[in-house]
């Protein structure tokens, strides 16, 4: 390209961008886009982006919708920064986020100040919505979520361990985060209630790599635990599985964990050692959900060539976006306050089935499924 041509092109581009601006309305996607949790966040971003593209293509709104991604790095401090950034952008009408409960809890306080609605596609700690009842909550209720909470998931796992697997003595490990510890406590409560025994309980730190000493203690515990329940995310879960198997803690010694560990990335950390791990998920595996068939196909079509797999929360992200679209339509325009009110009245049937919210903002669609990791094809078929 000659210099003159380059100038001509630049002039055209400049002229185009200076024209009358088309009105855009943003849906913020506040999730971890980098770091260990980045794979999950990127999946959510792709899901929301796809929902937005579909809405634009169908000309659902008289303006252009944009999915605006914000990276909270799975870090509560960063989540608050990002939340402040979001509320200061007047074009943002609602937020899909955050991924981690630890991030969603402080960020929600910021959104309440705006106020702008936040629908979490993945944060499962009860506190995320329950904090709106506390005395230090200022502002209106703006938190919603399309995923069932840990009290549903943790106690489901306990029943599964006790009834389906016949375990009576379990060791409890958690990563000390609101998500991991919350899940662990719910598990413990239900498991003891059923007549089981928690023989030991330990916290580990996120970022720790070496659990051999801890697992050796579990292995030589005199009260012979029959399995581990771990409340935490896939990095630590993967390392625990790998080191557990290296120490000879194999079947029928069970490893049970929650949805934070149920992602194909666990096979990158643990390799074949992840095989046979029981991982509960909220909802039904998206591949087995008849209502999500088109979504799964569209997603694969839209993102082929990016080398990206469908991540476990993507359909929740997609659904959160759909709930927001419907609310904007009913509100008659992208008005933050009206949209909050309309989301509250949601009765939407889509990918997840029927979604309605209770007074706290939690979805009433509370299904939990137990899956089992299978290393050879990186899959998680459901088990009964």
């Amino acid at each position: 390209m000659t210099l003159r041509k380059a100038f001509a092109v630049a002039a055209v581009v400049l002229a185009a961008s200076c024209g009358p601006k088309e009105k855009t309305v943003k849906i913020a996607v506040a999730v971890p886009l980098t770091g260990d949790m980045g794979t999950e966040g990127q999946g959510l971003r792709r899901a929301v982006e796809m929902a937005v593209e579909e809405a634009n293509a169908a000309k659902r709104f008289p303006y252009k919708l944009v999915a605006a991604p914000y990276d909270d790095r799975a870090d509560p401090k960063e989540a608050v920064n990002v939340a402040n950034l979001i509320i200061s952008d007047p074009n943002v009408v609602a937020v899909v986020g955050h991924y981690n409960s630890g991030c969603a809890i402080p960020a929600a306080k910021v959104y309440a100040r705006a106020p702008v609605a936040m629908i979490s596609p993945a944060a499962t700690n009860p506190e995320v919505t329950a904090q709106q009842d506390s005395t230090d909550w200022s502002g209106p209720r703006i938190v919603f979520r399309v995923v069932p909470t840990d009290d549903v998931q943790g106690s489901y796992a306990a029943q599964f361990a006790f009834k389906s697997l016949g375990k009576r003595r379990m060791t409890l490990l958690h990563d000390k985060t609101p998500y991991g510890q919350g899940l662990g406590e719910q598990f413990k409560k239900t498991f003891i209630g059923l007549g089981g025994k928690i023989v030991s309980e330990d916290g580990v730190s996120v970022g720790d790599k070496d659990f051999k000493a801890l697992l050796t203690k579990v292995r030589s515990d005199a009260s012979k635990p029959e399995g581990i329940y771990f409340g935490g995310l896939y990095t630590e879960a993967g390392l625990l599985l790998k080191q557990m198997r290296e120490l000879g803690l194999k079947e029928p010694f069970a490893f049970i964990s929650g949805d934070g560990s149920k992602t194909p990335s666990i096979f990158d950390v643990a390799g074949d050692a992840a095989d046979g791990a029981y991982l509960s998920i909220v909802g039904v595996p998206v591949e087995e959900l008849p209502s999500a068939k088109t979504f799964v196909e569209d997603y694969k079509k839209r993102w082929t060539g990016s080398g990206e797999e469908l991540k476990p929360f993507d359909h929740f992200g997609y659904e959160a976006a759909q709930v927001i679209f419907a609310a904007i339509e009913r509100a008659g325009g992208p008005d933050r306050t009206k949209v909050i009110e309309e989301i509250r009245k949601t009765d939407y049937t889509g990918v997840l089935g029927r979604t309605t919210f209770d007074a706290k903002g939690d979805t009433l669609n509370k299904i939990v499924t137990m899956t089992r990791a299978r290393a050879k094809d990186r899959a998680f078929p459901s088990v009964k």
């Binding site: 980098t34 770091g35 260990d36 980045g38 794979t39 000390k176 030991s200 309980e201 330990d202 916290g203 580990v204 730190s205 970022g207 720790d208 790599k209 070496d210 659990f211 051999k212 000493a213 801890l214 050796t216 203690k217 292995r219 030589s220 990095t235 993967g238 390392l239 790998k242 290296e246 120490l247 000879g248 990335s265 990158d268 950390v269 643990a270 390799g271």
Partner: protein, 299 residues
């Protein structure tokens, strides 16, 4: 259980010791803390990951492939350390003692973010170059990986000992460590010896990085930070500048962590607190570390 915990402690300690040696070698000769060492460790692991895809074609799999991966990653990490020294430390060496220290922190940040931006922001799976089996030894389950880690670490420490104590270059290194100016007057090319020290330290760090990747099965851009900080602690605990001290400190720290999380109820979340409390107590009693000699401050 005790035997199993000893095995765990030995593996952890071996990795800490190897890293600690890199800190101590550089400190011994320049009285400078190479904060970029943890990144050299990380780069060693990433080089091994890159090589793992290429090497089987050249060396085949099994122990030969493993040795090839080790040697090349060590050489690469050593060279990186030499380049860091040449570009970031040497020009500042005579200015002040603080300048190279800040420069080292800068290098560390640059390398970490470089990998973060250009390679991957996420955990990458580290391949298993050899088939890992478990063997039962006195009721403890020992994986062949742990044996490889311990053997590799001990061999490298042995080689280092031989090099420092029994070769001419090692003698020159010790001379520089004693008094770099006098060594220069005696005809030792101190710049060359310093570069060599960085190479050896970097190579050991690179080896530790490979072992680290093999042990935990996945690597990430920030993997160097935590073991780097722990190994630095180990070097101080043993007496920084002292080679035997670094090894001793590494193993002590490894055992402390294992004992804390293995024998104290709910110790896993307290293990760093316990390990560092012991460190503070040791330093209160012996400020120059366990094997460190009391030397007059160099001016």
């Amino acid at each position: 259980m005790l035997i199993q915990q000893i095995v765990n402690g030995l593996t952890l300690g071996a990795i800490y010791s190897l890293i600690a040696l890199g800190y101590t070698l550089v400190y011994g000769i320049l009285t400078m803390i190479n904060f970029a060492h943890s990144e050299v460790l990380m780069l060693g692991a990433f080089m091994a990951l890159g090589l793992a895809a290429l090497l089987p074609a050249v060396f085949g799999t099994g122990l030969v492939g493993l040795a090839g991966m080790f040697i090349l990653s060590m050489a690469g990490a050593g060279l990186i350390n030499v380049i860091i020294e040449r570009l970031a430390y040497r020009p500042l060496r005579h200015i002040s003692r603080l300048a190279p220290l800040i420069s080292a922190i800068g290098v560390s940040i640059i390398l970490q973010n470089g990998v973060f931006l250009w390679v991957s922001t996420q955990s990458l799976r580290f391949p298993e170059p050899v088939v890992i089996d478990q063997v039962q030894v006195f009721g403890a389950t020992v994986s062949t990986l742990q044996i490889i880690i311990l053997a590799a670490a001990l061999i490298l420490m042995g080689l280092l000992h031989f090099f420092v104590e029994h070769t001419k270059l090692g003698k020159a290194m010790r001379a520089c460590s004693d008094d770099i100016q006098t060594a220069g007057l005696m005809g030792i090319n101190s710049d060359y010896i310093i570069a060599l020290t960085f190479f050896v330290g970097g190579a050991l760090g690179g080896a530790a990085g490979v072992l680290y990747g093999m042990n935990y099965g996945s690597i990430k851009y920030n993997l160097g930070f935590l073991p780097g900080a722990k190994a630095f602690t180990a070097a101080v605990l043993g007496g920084i500048g002292n080679i035997r001290g670094a090894v001793l400190g590494g193993f002590i720290l490894g055992f402390l962590e294992v004992l804390a999380s293995g024998y104290i109820p709910n110790g896993a979340q307290w293990r760093d607190v316990i390990a560092f409390t012991v460190l503070i107590i040791v330093l209160l009693v012996r400020p120059s570390g366990l094997l460190g000699e009391k030397i007059a401050e160099k001016v």
